[in-house]
């Protein structure tokens, strides 16, 4: 076969990359057919551009303010002395201002990268723990397996939001700690069970047997043969974890329990506790809750959509007939 010839010519790492790239392309083509997945991907890209590119540019140009200005676009200490706040969307403030005169758009954009980081950081921890524990438990079995599976059962028990609420009432939790807690809790939870069963199906495949025969150490087999094969599934669960983390943050901030200076959930909390979200008259100050609420829903939904798209890549049975 052609691969055999290239082995002679090229160093090993190049082949690895090429193989990985080919695998990626193949999966990408499947993923691309999922309209829902693509929709999610586009939303995520738009948010990423807004948060990581547009905000820094705006903050450094249009929104810069001097020491003695009457308007400041700082998302946390901003103000607008010339307006009656909260003020309607206008040219100066495309999405209006909040009850103490801070620009909603700048708050929205400022929070975007933070939400991303939170979601992705939490998801990475989840997936790292889930993959490691799941594969190790599957490969070694025995007591290790039983222990981690019972642990997962236990964590499934944990009413996550309630637990986080109680915890945040007792100690001050910031974004990084929140990501850590969510990451660790969900890492040892349900995802371990799923990845373990996937790893079990990989474990019995012939190439693992041949690797063993050729004298590979267990550690090497786990991380070089089993882990790469459960990776797509991990990636799928990562997307769901991102959704979970962002959602949890929003709920805790909405209840005013997190120690963050600005976030989408906190934006709604500020206007709610300020008395601007009044059931029947909720439309009157729509700019105080619609942008932030929509952002939370869209970003959570987008990662979930991507997850659904990936589902079809990972799970051939779900593909179109």
């Amino acid at each position: 076969m052609s691969e055999l010839q290239t082995v002679v010519k090229e160093p090993l790492w190049k082949i690895r990359i090429k193989l990985a790239w080919r695998g990626f392309l193949k999966n990408w083509n499947i993923f691309r057919q999922s309209k829902i997945g693509m929709l999610g991907l586009w939303i995520v890209i738009v948010f990423a551009i807004l948060g990581f590119v547009v905000y820094p540019i705006l903050a450094a140009t249009v929104w810069r303010s001097s020491l003695a200005a009457t308007v400041s676009y700082d998302p946390i200490t901003g103000y607008d002395f010339q307006k009656i706040n909260p003020s309607h969307p206008s040219l100066q403030h495309p999405l209006g201002t909040d009850p103490i005169g801070r620009d909603i758009l700048s708050q929205l954009l400022y929070s975007t990268p933070r939400e991303f980081m939170l979601g992705i950081f939490a998801a990475l921890i989840t997936v790292f723990i889930g993959t490691t524990v799941g594969t190790v438990a599957a490969y070694y079995g025995g007591i290790l397996d039983t222990f981690f599976m019972r642990l997962a059962d236990l964590i499934l028990l944990f009413p996550m939001i309630a637990f986080l609420i109680v915890l945040s009432g007792m100690m001050k939790i910031n974004m990084i700690m929140l990501a850590l807690i969510i990451g660790i809790l969900s890492g040892f939870g349900g995802i371990t069970i799923v990845l373990r069963s996937q790893a079990l199906t990989v474990k019995v495949k012939p190439f693992i047997e041949s690797a063993k025969v050729s004298g590979a150490r267990s550690f090497y087999i786990v991380f070089h043969h089993i882990v790469p094969n459960v990776m797509p599934l991990s990636f799928l669960y990562m997307m769901f974890s991102v959704t979970g983390a962002i959602f949890s943050e929003a709920v805790l901030s909405f209840l005013g329990l997190l120690n963050v200076k600005m976030s989408w959930g906190l934006m709604i909390h500020t206007s709610e506790s300020g008395g601007y979200l009044l059931g029947a008259y909720i439309g009157r100050y729509w700019w105080l809750w619609v942008p932030a609420g929509l952002a939370i829903t869209l970003l959570c939904g987008a990662f979930y959509f991507i997850g659904r798209g990936l589902d079809e890549v990972v799970n051939p049975r779900l593909r179109r007939r």
Binding site: P159, A162, V166, S168, L255, I268, G293, G301
Partner: protein, 384 residues
């Protein structure tokens, strides 16, 4: 069967012990430890603080403390609430529990029925516009920020259409001169709902076990279901409590709608995936090859097998309803467990917060046990 359930019961008790241990150690890991948490209530006199320390054995070595805490938890002795001093935590949980349980059990059953049926149809309509629309709609409903949905519902139904009452769980004008408390009604409603729920579940299991014919299966399912509902309504109608029960249900509509919207999508998506998996199984292909009509294949063959993961999902979510509704309860003025937990956290009432957390754990574990039993009945592959 008995042996199997016994085994699960044993495992669940072990899990519960570990769960309480985890909560205990988390409380201990807080700055100042549990001691500080329990006596940090500035409203208490030094004597009262000492009394609390003693009552909870907090002056003893850690291991003894742990054993005492474990014993207390199993006897539902979660201590005395700070914010409701000297009311025991268990009293507060007892007061709040029926309200939450009624609201969320109702909502969960409704969302299960909707989710199950729509998921079934969705899987069959692969690739059509209906699928995209309802999948996207479902995911949006699933991931929508809960408060935003609540705001919209309150505005549309409560304020714009003025269809439903807002903000309270009963109408004080109606209740001003009653001799009984709303708790009585809640308990009776809960009992009614549980009986109907149990009838539905038993009817469902029986219909699958007794018959393979769709029509007779439907009969077995619907006759007990409908008659139990009719009988319940009739009894309520005749009883002097009828109007009060109806008042509570009337106030319950909006929160139920909210919880339903949020949770039906999850069940729908699980059902759809589960159906799709099943559809690829050989026996479905065989059934199709035999030339059976689509509907028959869908309802008789595929849905039955696909139901299992959905039921798991359903019952586990039942367990979580206890704590999951914090936002719903706050925004719809429904003073249940979630709200109790939130208020406890806000007012630094640690015994109450920990008590709610542990109790939720007990409830979730109980739900797990129910899942196991239902599984044992439904899944032909499980043998004991």
């Amino acid at each position: 069967m008995g042996k199997y359930i016994g085994k699960r019961l044993f495992q669940i008790v072990i899990l519960l012990v570990i769960y309480i241990a985890v909560v205990f150690f988390i409380l201990h890991a807080m700055p100042g430890g549990m001691k500080a948490l329990f006596i940090s209530n500035p409203r208490l006199t030094p004597e009262a603080q000492q009394a609390i320390l003693k009552a909870f054995g907090l002056d003893k070595p850690p291991l003894t403390q742990f054993l005492i805490y474990m014993r207390n938890s199993f006897t539902l002795n979660f201590g005395v609430s700070f914010s409701h001093y000297p009311t025991p935590v268990w009293e507060i949980i007892k007061e709040r529990l029926p309200r939450t349980a009624l609201l969320f059990i109702t909502a969960t059953i409704i969302s299960f029925l909707i989710g199950f049926h729509s998921g079934k149809v969705l899987a069959w309509k692969r690739g059509k516009a209906v699928e995209y629309v309802s999948t996207i709609g479902g995911v949006v409903a699933y991931t929508i920020f809960t408060p935003v949905l609540a705001f919209l519902l309150i505005w549309f139904f409560g304020a714009y259409l003025r269809l439903f009452p807002l903000n309270q769980f009963l109408n004080p004008d109606l209740w001003a001169n009653t001799s009984f408390s709303s708790q009585v009604i809640f308990l009776r409603l809960l009992l009614t709902a549980s009986i109907i729920g149990a009838v539905i579940l038993v009817a469902l299991i029986l219909s699958y076990r007794l018959s393979h014919n769709i029509r007779s299966r439907r009969l077995i399912f619907y006759i007990p279901t409908i008659s139990s509902v009719v009988i319940a309504v009739f009894i309520w109608w005749k009883s002097p409590y009828g109007i009060y029960g109806a008042d509570i249900l009337w106030h319950m509509v909006l929160p139920v709608v909210e919880v339903t919207i949020i949770s039906y999508a999850g069940i729908m998506l699980v059902m759809r995936d589960s159906m799709l998996e099943t559809v690829k199984e050989d026996f479905i292909t065989t059934a199709r090859a035999k030339g059976l009509p689509d509907r028959v294949v869908r309802d008789k063959h595929a849905a039955r097998t696909a139901l299992l993961p959905v039921i798991t999902n359903f019952i586990i979510s039942l367990g979580f309803t206890l704590s999951g509704g914090i936002i719903t309860e706050t925004l719809f003025s429904w003073p249940g467990m979630g709200l109790a937990m939130y208020e406890a956290v806000i007012s630094h009432d640690y015994p109450l917060a920990a008590g709610c957390l542990i109790f939720t754990g007990i409830f979730v574990l109980f739900a797990h046990l129910v899942v196991d039993i239902v599984y044992a009945f439904l899944d032909p592959r499980i043998r004991y």
